[in-house]
Every structure is written in structure tokens, then in C-alpha cells.
């Protein structure tokens, strides 16, 4: 298991991420407008919102892959390009070449690059051990020598989580970890993330609000504007605000019976 490496003073006083008066646009199209967001250490939040609403953009701003037009981003008390080495990132894998000649271990080891700036990117014994530990953590230890593209969608996503973990991150950012995977793998993914949340801040982009309300502590709603809600507050009005229209909501935490709903009110 990875050891908790969070700075305790920072844990008490600071935030894992702070965005202040942030604006971002692609050319003329404004994607994020006046974002003010504070994410506490140990937070487990999901970023939701309509397509093109700016979810992935928000992640990329936190990673420093995009620069805000206006405003400030601080991650783990530093600028994103400086804090990047302490942040683990799981991208979507759809943009990658399906035939690329790499083994699972090759991919996971990439998470150790930059640990040793004068080593020209050569891996040492400790790097291989960290990669093996990370693979164990995501339950893929027997797949180290397998060709990356022989894995299923859910397994590929777990490999990317392992790659993020083996850099010993203090914060984990995941882009659509629930896409392309079946329900069973989704379940085991939640359990894994819940466990990891004990030692690191987790932010994930998801389309799946049901998942959101079950596992995470907060929901960050992104649709040009950004609002954060504790999951206890999530109800129909909030969701209507985010998606801006009529919709139907399906509750996951109860069963319907002949006498009506077993628990809780139904909004939406």
C-alpha cells in the first residue's frame, strides 16, 4: 500500500485546490466563467455537467495543461505546472493508438518518469517496485507482461489508475472513469476509489450522477459556471440548475413497491 504523504500542516490550513475568478475560453467560445472553487484536502468530488460544459477543461486547468484567460489556479499550494508531479491523472484512453506496442508494465512505469530528473528517464529497482505495488492495488498484478491492448476497457482504466498511483500522488484526477465499463467493474472501481480516498484527494469527471450520489462527498457542477454541493444537498432543483431543463431522475438508493417508494421524497 502507498503511504500517506500529505503534509499535515497543509491538511489543517490549506486547500488541495483553489480556483479564483477564473475565466477560460477556446477562441471566442467562453467555456468557464468566473469560477471560484475551493477543494479541501481529503475531498472526494465528482465533476458533472452537460457535454461541452467545461468538465474536462476544468481538469486540464488543474493540471496546467491549459492556462486560464483570467484568474488564478493553485493546486496543493503551488501553480499547476509545479504541483503536477504530486498529482495523479487518469485520462480517457480513447485518444490512444490501440495498436501501440507496450506492455501493461511499460504503461504503469510511465508514472515514475520525472521522479529522477538526472536519470534520463531510466527506471530503477524502486521504480519497478512502485509499479508492481500500484498494479497490486488495482488488482492487475498478473497482467504486468500482457500487451496493453489485450485488456478490456475497465482493465485499461485500472492500468491508468495504477500509472497515476505509482507516482505517489497527493491528489488524483480522473476523467470519465465510468465510461466504457460494465457494472461489475464499475462497482470494484468505486470500492478502490473509496479506499484511495482515505489517503488522497480525489476529483473525477463523470456522467453518472447515480454513482456520484452513492460514493462521493461532493458534487461539482460545471456548466460555464461552477458550483459545489455536498452530496446531501443533491436534489432535483440542483440538478435542474446544472442541466438547465426538464429531465427524469432515477433514484438508486431505494426500491419501489406496491405501496409506493420505500424511503425519501422524489424530486425532478
Amino acid at each position: 500500500m502507498h503511504e500517506l504523504k500529505t503534509d499535515h500542516d497543509e491538511l489543517k490550513t490549506g486547500y488541495a485546490a483553489v480556483l479564483e475568478n477564473l475565466f477560460f475560453s477556446y477562441g471566442d467560445r467562453e467555456v468557464l466563467q468566473d469560477v471560484n472553487l475551493k477543494i479541501s484536502h481529503g475531498e472526494f468530488a465528482t465533476i458533472v455537467g452537460p457535454n461541452g460544459g467545461g468538465k474536462t477543461t476544468l481538469l486540464k486547468l488543474l493540471l496546467g495543461l491549459l492556462k486560464p484567460v483570467k484568474g488564478n489556479v493553485k493546486v496543493l499550494g503551488q501553480s499547476p505546472s509545479k504541483s503536477r508531479m504530486k498529482v495523479g491523472y487518469m485520462p480517457q484512453y480513447s485518444h490512444l493508438d490501440v495498436k501501440f506496442p507496450v506492455s501493461v508494465m511499460d504503461v504503469v512505469l510511465m508514472g515514475r518518469l520525472g521522479k529522477n530528473p538526472w536519470g534520463w528517464g531510466r527506471y530503477k529497482g524502486e521504480d519497478r517496485m512502485a509499479a508492481a505495488r500500484a498494479l497490486e492495488e488495482v488488482n492487475l498484478v498478473q497482467f504486468g507482461d500482457t500487451h496493453f491492448n489485450e485488456l478490456s476497457g475497465g482493465q485499461k482504466q485500472r492500468v491508468f489508475i495504477a500509472r497515476a498511483l505509482c507516482g505517489d500522488p497527493q491528489m488524483l484526477l480522473l476523467d470519465e472513469p465510468t465510461s466504457n465499463i460494465d457494472q461489475e467493474s464499475e462497482q470494484s472501481l468505486f470500492m478502490l476509489l473509496k479506499e484511495l480516498n482515505k489517503k488522497m484527494t480525489i476529483l473525477l469527471v463523470s456522467h453518472d450522477l447515480g454513482f456520484a450520489s452513492k460514493v462521493v462527498k461532493s458534487v461539482i457542477c460545471v456548466n460555464r459556471k461552477v458550483v459545489i454541493h455536498p452530496t446531501t444537498e443533491m436534489d432535483g432543483t440542483v440538478i435542474k440548475d446544472i442541466y438547465g431543463g426538464d429531465f427524469r431522475m432515477i433514484r438508486h438508493d431505494h426500491r419501489c413497491c406496491e405501496l409506493g417508494h420505500e424511503q425519501g421524497d422524489f424530486h425532478g
Binding site: L63, L65, R84, M85, V87, Y89, P91, L96, D97, K99, F100, P101, V102, S103, D106, V107, L109, M110, G111, L113, G114, P117, W120, G121, R122, Y123, H147, R163, G167
Partner: protein, 279 residues
């Protein structure tokens, strides 16, 4: 075959031995760089780079004849143009969000056009086809020195930077997040591609060099599943195609470059069909 071996021993056929050595040495660079070009999917960029080099060939011929610069060889011009095209196409593919292919297509044909116009303006007659389709009679011992240096540079680069290069080719965005200068590596890779392509123009020419860069690596990619074995196999296949092409063309009195490319192309087709049938 016996004729070919006998000819190799014959001092009158020094050019043949030169071509053989050149082919074998160039295969090291070609197999390695070809593997990156195929896996990173930039053969289109490599095509633009090699064709742009023709502009440099024309310019060097023009300058050396018009201003009587004896030391200026077409290969110098080709090198400058190819590296310039590599930097420009690299920058475009990093920074532009759209119309990348249009610009790269333009570099491709404008380079060719410049070459031909320069040659038209140059006094004297030139056999264009030797540049376009290769001519083993043009190979000098100087070329062999150059390709040896390039082999050393490329082998050294791969030994030192194998892991970062792998990460950049697989997922450049992630590589950047791990503090690797992904854009720098990418441009560097394109420049190495440019130099490799130019040195091989002597044998197979500008038009066909791309096939010799990509086909061995593509076949190797079918047979192996990791980068290092893929590179080694691509190097071996490239040596095999070069040598076989040289022998077949010499024995039958046909052009060497096209023969090499045909052998590579037929092998690629055969391997593809074999894997299709097997699955």
C-alpha cells in the same frame, strides 16, 4: 546470386560494395526511426519532410553551379530543407487545432516544386530521376561516413531516452505531466527522421523512401508486441530488403531503389494476408 557475390568481390564494382554497406548501415537508423514513425503515426509528416528535401537538392545544385561553390553538395541542401520542414511540420502539428493536413500537404508539394524550378534555372542537364528514385552509383564513401555517424547518434539517443520517448509516443499529454519536454522530444524525433530520410535518398530516392521507412516497422509491429523487439526486427527486415533488392536488381539489370521497395511491399502484403487468414 553467385554473380552478385562475385561482383561484390570485384574491385571494378566498388559501387556495389558501397551500396551494400550503405544499405546495411542505413537499416539501423531506418528500423529504429521507422518504428517511431509507425507507432506515433506520423508517416504523413515523414512523407512531407522527404519531399520537401527535394527543394533543398534543387537549391544546392543551383547555388553550386551559379556561384561556383564546389563544396556544396545536393545532400547539404536536402539536409537543410528536410530539417527545416521537420521543425515546421512539428510546430504545426503541435500548435494548430485544424487544417494540419492541408499545411503539411502544401509543404510536401511546394518543396517538390521548388526543387524542379531551381533545377530548371540551373545551367546544364540533370537526371532528375536519380534523386527521385535513387541511384546507387551516386553513393560515395562520404555517405558511408555520414550514415555511420547518424547510426551512432540514433543508437545513443535510443539508449539514453528510450523511456521518455516511449511515453511521448504513447501518450504525449501524460508524458508532459511527468515533467518531460514532450514537444521538444517530438521535434527532435522529426529532425532525426529528416536526417535519416535524406541519407537514404541515395539508394531509394525521395518518392519511395517513406515505404522503406515504414514497411519494415509495420511488418515488425505485426509480429511483436513491444517496442524494443519491434525495433530490432524492423532493423533486420530493412537489412534483408536492402540486400535482397540490391542483389535482384544487379542480377537482372533493373533499378535498385524500386526493386527494394517492391520486395518490401510484397513482403508486407504477404504478412498481412498471412495474419488475416490465420485469424
Amino acid at each position: 546470386m553467385v554473380d552478385f557475390v562475385k561482383a561484390l568481390m570485384n574491385p571494378d564494382f566498388q559501387f556495389l560494395a558501397n551500396a551494400l554497406i550503405m544499405g546495411i548501415l542505413a537499416s539501423i537508423s531506418f528500423g529504429i526511426i521507422g518504428t517511431y514513425v509507425v507507432t506515433r503515426r506520423i508517416s504523413y509528416l515523414a512523407g512531407a519532410i522527404s519531399h520537401a528535401a527535394f527543394g533543398g537538392i534543387g537549391m544546392a545544385l543551383y547555388l553550386s553551379r551559379t556561384f561556383d561553390i564546389a563544396w556544396l553538395d545536393p545532400i547539404h541542401g536536402a539536409m537543410v530543407f528536410a530539417v527545416g520542414a521537420a521543425v515546421i511540420t512539428g510546430m504545426i502539428s503541435i500548435h494548430s487545432r485544424e487544417r494540419e493536413d492541408t499545411v503539411i500537404g502544401a509543404i510536401w508539394s511546394v518543396g517538390m516544386a521548388m526543387g524542379i524550378v531551381f533545377i530548371d534555372m540551373t545551367p546544364g542537364y540533370f537526371e532528375l530521376s536519380s534523386f527521385l528514385f535513387g541511384d546507387i552509383l551516386l553513393i560515395s564513401s562520404n555517405d558511408i561516413v555520414l550514415i555511420t555517424i547518424l547510426d551512432v547518434v540514433i543508437l545513443g539517443t535510443v539508449m539514453l531516452c528510450y523511456n521518455p520517448l516511449l511515453a511521448v509516443c504513447f501518450d504525449d499529454e501524460y508524458a508532459m505531466l511527468r515533467g518531460i519536454n514532450a514537444h521538444g522530444y517530438y521535434i527532435f524525433l522529426l529532425c532525426l527522421t529528416a536526417v535519416t530520410v535524406v541519407l537514404m535518398v541515395r539508394i531509394v530516392g525521395i518518392v519511395m523512401v517513406i515505404a522503406l521507412l515504414t514497411l519494415p516497422a509495420a511488418i515488425a509491429g505485426k509480429m511483436t508486441k513491444r517496442m524494443l523487439p519491434m525495433m530490432s526486427l524492423a532493423v533486420f527486415l530493412c537489412m534483408l530488403f536492402d540486400t535482397a533488392g540490391l542483389a535482384v536488381s544487379f542480377v537482372n539489370g533493373i533499378s535498385t531503389g524500386p526493386t527494394i521497395i517492391l520486395i518490401a511491399g510484397i513482403s508486407y502484403l504477404a504478412v498481412m494476408i498471412f495474419y488475416r487468414i490465420r485469424n
